[in-house]
Amino acid sequence: AAGVIQSPRHLIKEKRETATLKCYPIPRHDTVYWYQQGPGQDPQFLISFYEKMQSDKGSIPDRFSAQQFSDYHSELNMSSLELGDSALYFCASSANRALNQPQHFGDGTRLSIL
């Protein structure tokens, strides 16, 4: 079965650079979530989109922005990168028309800031 696809898998940037992470949800899933997991930490919710509209916002820095496109893929844009942004970034998708559907996660993008 098709899963959530994230790209790139690994990304190395320097401080003050920008980065764009991409997420392709499972087909027919209408909701995308972004999470950030620091080393040894639990995943923290950043932002979500339902039918291409922002549906909820968590602890996402103002330097980050995200959107969901007409084909339902989503991008997380990160600017003025800081050392503390080094983390594993997960995208998850779910079919929210039926509330009992779980979120399925991609393999994550490991972002390292030098």
């Binding site: 909701t31 979530y33 999470y35 639990d42 995943p43 923290q44 919710f45 979500s48 339902y50 549906s55 909820d56 968590g58 594993l88 997960f90 998850a92 779910s94 929210n96 509330l99 009992n100 559907q101 779980p102 979120q103 399925h104 996660f105 991609g106 393999d107 994550g108 490991r110």
Partner: protein
């Protein structure tokens, strides 16, 4: 506010032992969902189970079983006859619907399970 607590940071067992991972949650909402996810050393998050707040029936799937008790706000996870491949970090999570849509996941701190041969 919602919160999930996994008091066990690390657990180490020997293969074939049974092990229970504890999860306690807090929410004032009457409708909510509980989840368990597995994160093996390779890093991906694997969905294991979902429970809604109106279904307290326990569930068994192979060597895995889950005990949901609303009276104690707990959703514990038991692995029977553990295997080395069960070694991973296990996260319990809570979700509360918003505007009739599925909400964000609030994770516990995770329990790192090490199964030794």
């Amino acid at each position: 506010a919602q919160k999930v607590t996994q008091a066990q940071t690390e657990i180490s067992v020997v293969e074939k032992e049974d092990v229970t991972l504890d999860c306690v949650y807090e929410t004032r909402d009457t409708t909510y969902y509980l989840f368990w996810y597995k994160q093996p050393p390779s890093g991906e998050l694997v969905f294991l189970i979902r429970r809604n707040s109106f279904d307290e029936q326990n569930e068994i799937s192979g060597r895995y079983s889950w005990n949901f008790q609303k009276s104690t706000s707990s959703f514990n996870f038991t692995i029977t006859a553990s295997q080395v491949v069960d070694s991973a970090v296990y996260f319990c999570a809570l979700s509360v619907p918003i505007y009739n849509q599925g909400g964000k996941l609030i994770f516990g701190q995770g329990t790192e399970l090490s199964v030794k041969p």
